[in-house]
């Protein structure tokens, strides 16, 4: 069988694993390891990747790149805030893509990641003694479409076919699920170098279901290091140049790592032409520096639990992943939150790659002993009348997913209908992100409300969305495939989710109000059209009653902020005009008008 490996493409380290007859194993031999620090140094005469590049950080601060995973699939505006602390340059190139370094040594984050992947790939080939062409690659659960696409692109550049982009915390759960637990709910706490993710999964009869994911692509070990750097800088009497700052950064990191195992630590910073400075830090002092970050992760846990409709006591197992999860304070806070011991058996640096290998083995046709059911990260839907967002596939729905809904038109003799497709959690499309649009053309002229447009959303196992529409009376069809190219910027994702929670009720009222107003307009237009004909069908008293009600309704629609008030009058109007509508349009048209959602 052709080897299909699992690769954890991390912010600070990348590594690969595979399934062997003995079970899940890291890809390493006595001579070679697939473990490659995610660092690339562009030197005048060559490119260096991994451990050696890491050691060049002080010598070539401006062309040694690290933590570039944070820039994958992002634009200049998204990352503006975090550029100050980097020794290398990050600037915008064409189409808002980012470019790292100076003219000669300029690389995109995708190219840099590709260099790391290439290194991992070639080491695996040395270990296995055969070519590696396919892999499952992991990304943080909170990576948006654009960031996932950038990861695919990096793999392609490295000559790897991506069998699946898998979420890191999900991968960790797969690695732990092996024979340990048959049923129960797992929370994966993934505090890595650059990102923080929390995912909740349910295991039932070897079926892994993702119940919820939550996180922050800008909360990780790098932030802890930065806070630590701010402390360290305050200990140095003189301002430092780029090289001096890199040296200080290495010392600060060494202190942090040492304090995972001891209560105090010391490092000496020696710079040319300066007195050596001794940096002394205790566990208690470190705890004070990182406590705000640890607390922030607990907030994300609460939000994930809320999304899954669970309480802390419902969680059977807590799995810790990522280098920052080794920090004693972090472990203590999480343990206290759940009131139970944490799962620490597997090396938190390896568990993601191990899980990716397990999924890779499954996709290669190797085993059928488990199944992971993944979910849609953000709701998908279309714009309906009044700019409202009609969600078709709701956030956290299992994939592959298909949903069909029926819509109609708002204007007479409409022969073309434009479908606008959006992604987001808010009630109005103006607050969501547009994914694409297409036009259903060639519908025969019909009164408003009579066409029956069936819209189908289909998301396949890789998260790719296809939208199709069919007008049932005429059989006219159209379809669009949406390839997520430039995803939501992370700031947008978090803002959208935060805003959707803050505005949920307000949106709901506003939405019903908009819908009811649109309905009033439809009724007024419809009445104007049929009024002459109506004179012959109903009594003058009845028509007068309808006339009065219509005036009351349009007046109310123009000023009321209370959707329920408007609804009551609309219902009254419906009662008054029911017989008339029956006579004029027949049952089908009436019901279409009264009950169908209409497209703009």
């Amino acid at each position: 069988m052709e080897p299909v490996i699992g690769i954890d493409l991390g912010t600070t380290n990348s590594l690969a694993a595979q399934v062997t007859p003995k079970g899940l194993e890291m890809l390493e031999s006595e001579q070679v390891t697939s473990h490659v620090p995610s660092v690339v140094a562009i030197l005048p005469d060559r490119i260096v990747v991994g451990q050696e590049a890491l050691s060049l950080r002080e010598e070539y601060p401006k062309t040694t790149f690290y933590s570039f995973k944070r820039f994958m699939g992002r634009g200049a505006k998204d990352v503006a805030a975090e550029l100050d602390n980097l020794p290398y340059q990050v600037r915008a190139s064409e189409r808002d893509h980012l470019c790292l370094g100076c003219q000669e040594g300029c690389k995109s984050p995708e190219e840099l990641s590709a260099l790391v992947l290439q290194e991992v790939k070639s080491r695996c080939e040395q270990i296995l003694g055969q070519a590696v062409k396919k892999a499952v690659i992991t990304v943080p659960a909170y990576f948006d479409d654009g960031q996932r696409q950038a990861t695919r692109m990096a793999a392609e550049l490295a000559g790897l076919e991506v069998m699946r982009i898998l979420n890191e915390p999900t991968a960790a759960a797969l690695a732990y699920g092996l024979g340990e637990k048959d049923d129960g709910k797992i929370l994966v706490y993934d505090f890595g170098g650059g990102t923080f993710d929390v995912s909740i999964l349910e295991i039932k009869n070897k079926l892994f279901k993702v119940l919820a994911t939550h996180g922050d692509t800008h909360l990780g070990g790098d932030d802890l290091d930065q806070a630590l750097m701010n402390w360290a800088k305050a200990q140095i009497p003189v301002p430092l140049n780029a090289r001096g700052l890199q040296a200080l950064k290495s010392k600060a990191e060494a202190l942090k790592i040492a304090l995972s195992n001891q209560l105090e630590a010391e490092e000496t910073l020696s710079l040319p032409g300066q007195e050596p400075v001794v940096l002394h830090l205790t566990r208690t002092e470190l705890d004070q520096i990182i406590a705000p970050f640890a607390d922030e992760t607990l907030t994300h846990i609460k939000l994930a639990l809320q999304a899954a409709d669970l309480r802390p006591e419902d969680i059977g197992d807590v799995v810790m992943v990522g280098g920052s999860s080794r920090i004693p304070l972090v472990r203590e806070r999480v343990r206290a939150f759940f009131g139970k011991p944490l799962h620490l058996r597997l090396n938190p640096d390896q568990v993601v790659a191990l899980g990716a290998a397990r999924q890779a083995h499954l996709l290669a046709g190797g085993s059928r002993d488990f199944l992971l059911m993944d979910v849609v990260p953000l709701s998908l839907g279309i714009e309906t009348l009044g700019g409202t967002f009609n969600k078709m596939i709701i956030k956290n729905a299992s994939i592959p997913a298909r949903v069909t809904e029926e819509f109609s038109t708002s204007v007479d003799n409409q022969t073309g209908i434009t479908l606008n497709i959006f992604q987001g959690e808010r009630e109005f499309v103006a607050d969501c992100r547009k994914l694409g649009q297409f036009i259903l053309k060639g519908i025969p002229p019909m009164p408003a409300g009579l066409p029956r447009v069936k819209v189908t959303f289909f998301v396949d196992a890789n998260g790719l969305l296809r939208v199709s529409a069919k007008e049932e009376r005429s059989g006219i069809e159209a379809e669009i495939e949406i390839i997520p190219t430039h995803g939501l910027k992370q700031a947008e994702v978090s803002n959208m989710i935060r805003a959707s929670m803050e505005h949920a009720q307000e949106d709901f009222e506003q939405r019903t109000l908009v819908e009811f107003r649109a309905k009033v307009n439809l009724i007024a237009a419809g009445m104007a059209k049929i009024w002459p004909q109506a004179q012959t069908l109903r009594s003058p008293e009845e028509l007068a009653q309808i006339q009065t009600q219509l005036e009351k309704l349009t007046a109310l629609a123009s000023h009321t902020q209370n959707p329920m008030e408007l609804k009551a009058e609309l219902d009254q109007m419906g009662n008054l005009t029911r017989d008339l509508a029956d006579q004029i349009m027949g049952e089908a048209a009436r019901q279409a008008l009264l009950e169908t959602k209409t497209l703009p």
Partner: protein
């Protein structure tokens, strides 16, 4: 219970599931007469057995999921994708009383849009009262438990009524008066479902910010 009397298109064993042959593991082309009920081997009824549906779902998805067919030929890849999304779609519909009701009507009136009736003013007034009570709850006033009990009781009553009405409907689907009553009750269920969703949101908020 429904019976699958057709055979596997490869080994001709009698099929237990219309989607998959348990004897030779071949994915089957979906037959026209299959419904959301038949693929879960359930009778066509408003009364469902959620545990049985979950059980059949878990069992089938472990056999049909596209991840198991990543190396298979085009036919099997396409069928596994179709069948798995159908399973998700069918389960979501059957476990939701409102969607289940609409789907049941559509089975007897294929090709027609299923519309809802207009509940009487008294019912709407009752809904407004609930809405206001929920507004109060959201603002931190009032008690969660009694409201929840009232909502649940109302829903139980509606679903009980609908279950009986649908029992008759499956034998007398030409009875327009009965259909009109069902449409009206379904509209009520929709109102109550929306209220319950909002209640749940408020309840979650309250649980995290006591």
């Amino acid at each position: 219970m429904t019976q699958h009397d057709h055979q596997c298109d490869a080994c001709h064993s009698t099929l237990k599931s219309s989607l998959f042959c348990s004897a030779c593991e071949r994915l089957q082309q979906l037959q026209d007469q299959e419904t959301y009920f038949s693929i879960f081997d359930q009778p066509v009824s408003f009364r469902i057995d959620p545990a049985a549906i979950e059980r059949v779902f878990d069992d089938l998805v472990m056999k049909l999921h596209p991840d198991f067919f990543a190396q298979a030929d085009e036919r099997d890849q396409a069928l596994s994708l179709q069948h798995t999304s159908l399973l998700h779609e069918a389960k979501a519909c059957l476990l939701n009383p409102f969607e289940r009701g609409k789907y049941l009507i559509s089975l007897f009136y294929p090709g027609e849009a299923v519309t809802l009736g207009n509940p009487p003013p008294a019912f709407l007034a009752e809904m407004f009262a609930f809405q206001e009570a929920l507004d109060d709850l959201a603002a931190g006033k009032g008690d969660l438990q009694p409201l929840q009990a009232n909502l649940n009781e109302l829903q139980t009553r509606l679903l009980h009524y609908l279950a009986n009405a649908f029992d008759q409907f499956t034998h007398r689907h030409d009875d327009q008066a009965l259909l009109a009553r069902i449409r009206e009750e379904l509209a009520k269920v929709k109102f109550v479902t929306n209220l319950q969703a909002r209640f749940k949101e408020i309840q979650k908020e309250a649980a995290w910010n006591p």
